[in-house]
Amino acid sequence: MTPDPRPVTSDIDQVFRTESRRVLATLIRLLGDFDLAEEALQDAFTAAVERWPRDGVPANPRAWLISTGRFKAIDGLRRRARFDDSLGAIADQLGDGTTAPHELDDESVEDDRLRLIFTCCHPALPPDAQIALTLREVCGLTTEEIARAFLSPAPTLAQRIVRAKGKIKAAKIPYQVPTRAELPERLASVLHTIYLVFNEGYSASSGASLTRHDLSGEAIRLGRLLVELLPEPEALGLLALMLLHESRREARTSAEGEVVLLDDQERTRWNREMIAEGVALVERAMRSRQFGPYTLQAAIAAVHAEAPSGAETDWSEIVGLYDVLLRADPSPVIELNRAAAIAMRDGPIAGLRLIDGLFSRGELGAYALAHSARAELCRRLGWTDQAIDSFRTALALTSQEPQRRFIERRLSELSARRRHPAPEGM
C-alpha cells in the first residue's frame, strides 16, 4: 500500500500552527517591515492551500513558505510600483525575490524569533504596546483575542499595535538581538513584558474572573521559548516563578470561585509536575550565581511549594530570601511580603509592626492587599475591631470581584464574632 501523497487540510493547519510564527519572524527580517511580512505570510499560506494538495507537501515546508512569501511580497510591490514609484525602490532594495538557502538555516530562523521578541519588547515602545505587539506577533493572537483578554475595546488595541509598528519604522528600531552590553536592560524589558502578561492572566486586575488562564498559558509559552533561545539565569528564574505560581491555580479558588488563601489551600491539588519543573529551573538559575529578582521570587515560591503545610513551611528560609530580594530590588510590596513571612516566623505582632511602619512612611496606603494583610494579622490576634477597620479599607480599594467577596465573608464572620465573642483560638 502506498501512502496517499496528497496532504489533507489538517496537515496545512498543523504546519500553520507550528511554523507560522517562525515564518513571520524570518519574513520580517527579509522584508524589513511588519505589515509587509504579515501580508506575505497570509499569501504564502494561501498558496500552500492551493498547491500542496496538488503537488504534495514540500520537503521543507518552512523554507517553502518563507521563499514563497518573500517572492509574493516583492512581486506585489513591483506590480503596485506602476502606480507608486517609491514602492519600486523598496522592491529593488529587497532584491530579485529569491532566497538563498543560508538565509533559512535553523540558526538564522531561531535568531529571527529572538529578534522578533526583542523588537516587540523594545523599551522605546510603551509597556502596553509591548504587550499587545508581543501577543500579536510572537504568540499569533488576534487583536480581538488580546482585546478580550485585557478587557479593552478592540479598536484601542488595534490602534496601540499600529502606533507601535509606526514607531518601529519611524525611529528605526532595528531588528536585532541586542549585544552583550545592551542585553541586561533589553532582557529586563522582555522579562517584564512576559511577567505582566502572566499576571494579567493570573490575577485579573478587575472583572469577575480571578484567573484568565489563556494569558498565563501564553506567558508560560513565551517564557519557555525565551529559555530555549536564550537561557539567561533570569529567564530561567522567570519561567520557574510562573510555573510555581501556576501550579497552585486549581487550589487557589474554591469550586464556588471563591479565593482560598495559601495557608488554606489543599496542597494535594497543586500541580506536582509544574512544581518539579519550576524547582529544577530555580536550582539551575541559582547555580549560575548571576541570578536576580525573578530567581529569588521563584526560590521563595519553591520553598512554599515543597512545604507539606503552612505550619511546616521553612519561614526562616523565606525571610532570608526576602532579605536578599529587598537588597536586589527594594520595593514596598516586597517589604509587605517579608512582613507577612516575619509574622509567620515570629508571630502576628512582629508582622503588624512592620506593616504599620510601611503605612507611617506613606507607603502602600492605597494598596488593598496591604490593608487585608494587616486585617488578617489583627484577626489572628483577636483584635476584632481593628481587623474590621482594615478589611473595610481594603474593600474600598479593590475592584476585583473574588477579592471583594473574600473580604465581605471575613467581615461578616468578624461582625458575628463581635456579637458572640469566642475564646481565643476558635
Binding site: 514609484d85 517609491s86 523594545h122 522605546a124 519611524a170 525611529a171 528605526k172 528600531i173 532595528p174 536585532q176 541586542p178 552590553a181 545592551e182
Partner: protein, 130 residues
C-alpha cells in the same frame, strides 16, 4: 539616519557646582564630542544659555504672542543638543548613553525626518513639467 539628542538637566545644579567640578564635566564633554567626531557620528551640537534667557513665541489668529521663559516649566530644562548620525535607534541610544549629562539628567532621542526622498520627487515632478 539622523537623531537629535536633547539634553535635559536641572540648570540650577550648575550654579551650585565648584569651578573644579564644572571644569571636570566640561572635560568629559570635550572628550565625548571628540570621540563622536572621530567615529563619524557627530553632525552638530550646541550648549544653550540657561532658560531665563528663553523666549516663547506663538502666533494665534495672526497675532504674535511672546512670553518670557521656556515652553514648559519643568524640573529639568533643555540645556543643549547633539545632532548625530546613527545606523538605527539602538545605535543612537548607545551614543546618547555616553553623553555625560545622561548620568544625572535626561537625554531625549528623536529621529529626524528625512526630506531628501520627497525633495528628489518634487524635483523630478518639476523637471517633468519643464
Amino acid at each position: 539616519m539622523k537623531y537629535l539628542c536633547l539634553i535635559y538637566e536641572n540648570e540650577r545644579e550648575w550654579e551650585s557646582k565648584s569651578p573644579a567640578e564644572s571644569e571636570a564635566i566640561m572635560g568629559e564633554y570635550f572628550t565625548f564630542t571628540e570621540d563622536i567626531q572621530k567615529n563619524g557620528k557627530y553632525v552638530s551640537g550646541e550648549a544653550l544659555q540657561p532658560t531665563p534667557t528663553a523666549t516663547t513665541v506663538r502666533v494665534r489668529n495672526g497675532k504674535v504672542s511672546t512670553t518670557d521663559g521656556p515652553f514648559a516649566e519643568t524640573k529639568e530644562q533643555l540645556g543643549g543638543f547633539y545632532l548625530i548620525e546613527a545606523k538605527d535607534l539602538n545605535d543612537a541610544i548607545q551614543v546618547a548613553a555616553k553623553i555625560p549629562s545622561a548620568r544625572w539628567g535626561t537625554v531625549e532621542v528623536r529621529p529626524v525626518v528625512d526630506f531628501s526622498a520627497d525633495a528628489a520627487k518634487r524635483e523630478e515632478a518639476t523637471s517633468a513639467r519643464a
